[in-house]
Symmetry: C2
Amino acid sequence: MPAAARPKTRKNPQPASPWAARRRLRAGHALKRDAVILAAARAFRARGYHNTSLDDLAASLEVTKPTLYLYVPSKEAILFECFRAGLAQIHSTLEECERAEGKARERLFAFIRGYAAAIVGDFGWCMLRAEDQHLGTAMSRRIKLLKAGIDRRMRALIDAGVTDGSIRACDTKMTAFALAGALNWMGHWYREDASLNPQEIADRFIDVFNRGLRGRD
Amino acid sequence: MPAAARPKTRKNPQPASPWAARRRLRAGHALKRDAVILAAARAFRARGYHNTSLDDLAASLEVTKPTLYLYVPSKEAILFECFRAGLAQIHSTLEECERAEGKARERLFAFIRGYAAAIVGDFGWCMLRAEDQHLGTAMSRRIKLLKAGIDRRMRALIDAGVTDGSIRACDTKMTAFALAGALNWMGHWYREDASLNPQEIADRFIDVFNRGLRGRD
């Protein structure tokens, strides 16, 4: 049994499984990989994808570039992982809203709040911009497909609202695009020192989309 | 009367003024410069700013790179000119809507139609993306200022609507951001083979923003 695999706190040590050691190694590897992806997401947002080199990234993490390659095969793959991390947030809020009780309009609005939080989060920039970085064809196609999945589920929420009467009949595709546009655009103008937090912004948007702008006349 | 001011159809030609020749040269130069800017706008949209070199651009115009430099001093300057060309379109529709008769809500909606047309036009991509290309500080500041000017005038239109009663009381800043987001996002998803043209899309957006989504309940 290799010494490295023995847990330090155990009272009556049993021969540890070599698989346990491998699991710990894997967990450590995954943590470091996550750190690489988070650092990259922040660098891409701050300086842009094309202006960030793997050398910059390695320097910011105080590792060598060959060390980086233990965790990620290429800069393009890192961007994809950043995109995927942002997408995971959106998926989890979508699932919650799809499963929730209540009228679909309220569930759509709950989704808007979750989406706004994800957009201004660490991976928001990469999620919005990955597609613009002129990646390889296969990568672009995967990103497009994953984005289309979100769009489809958002439209399904709006359709459900039209069905349950909580949303009036409308062009659900264009409504989804208008909503996604308003929210995604936050990634362009939102700064953390802004006077409103993402939830307050989402509430203002919900007010506009819920009641419309039409005045008394 | 200076020679240059004489109409060309005159029967007994006088010695042509060298200034007239210079004016013709200048007009020719401006036309060629416009062609450079238009070709660049299309190339940036198709391949991205960072993936388009001045060599590519020169090749697409069938001129040499030194010839390009007769018209534009740098790639950054070209991007700025593309941005400015898009902005000019937005400005002209804004001016029209500001001057028009009628309630501000209708004038805002007319502006939305003009804006949608500009976004999907040749310079829309550059107008939306110029700021993301990590340009020099001075250039970035100019672009930000010019964009802020559009935002300010859009908010003024919404404020005017609240004042004349055609738009209900709302957070006018967030309303302008939601509208701009919905419209700007068209630049990401709109393709010319789309089933709706920009005016039809604008009308769907106007419907959502005008009446809101709230159903019967």
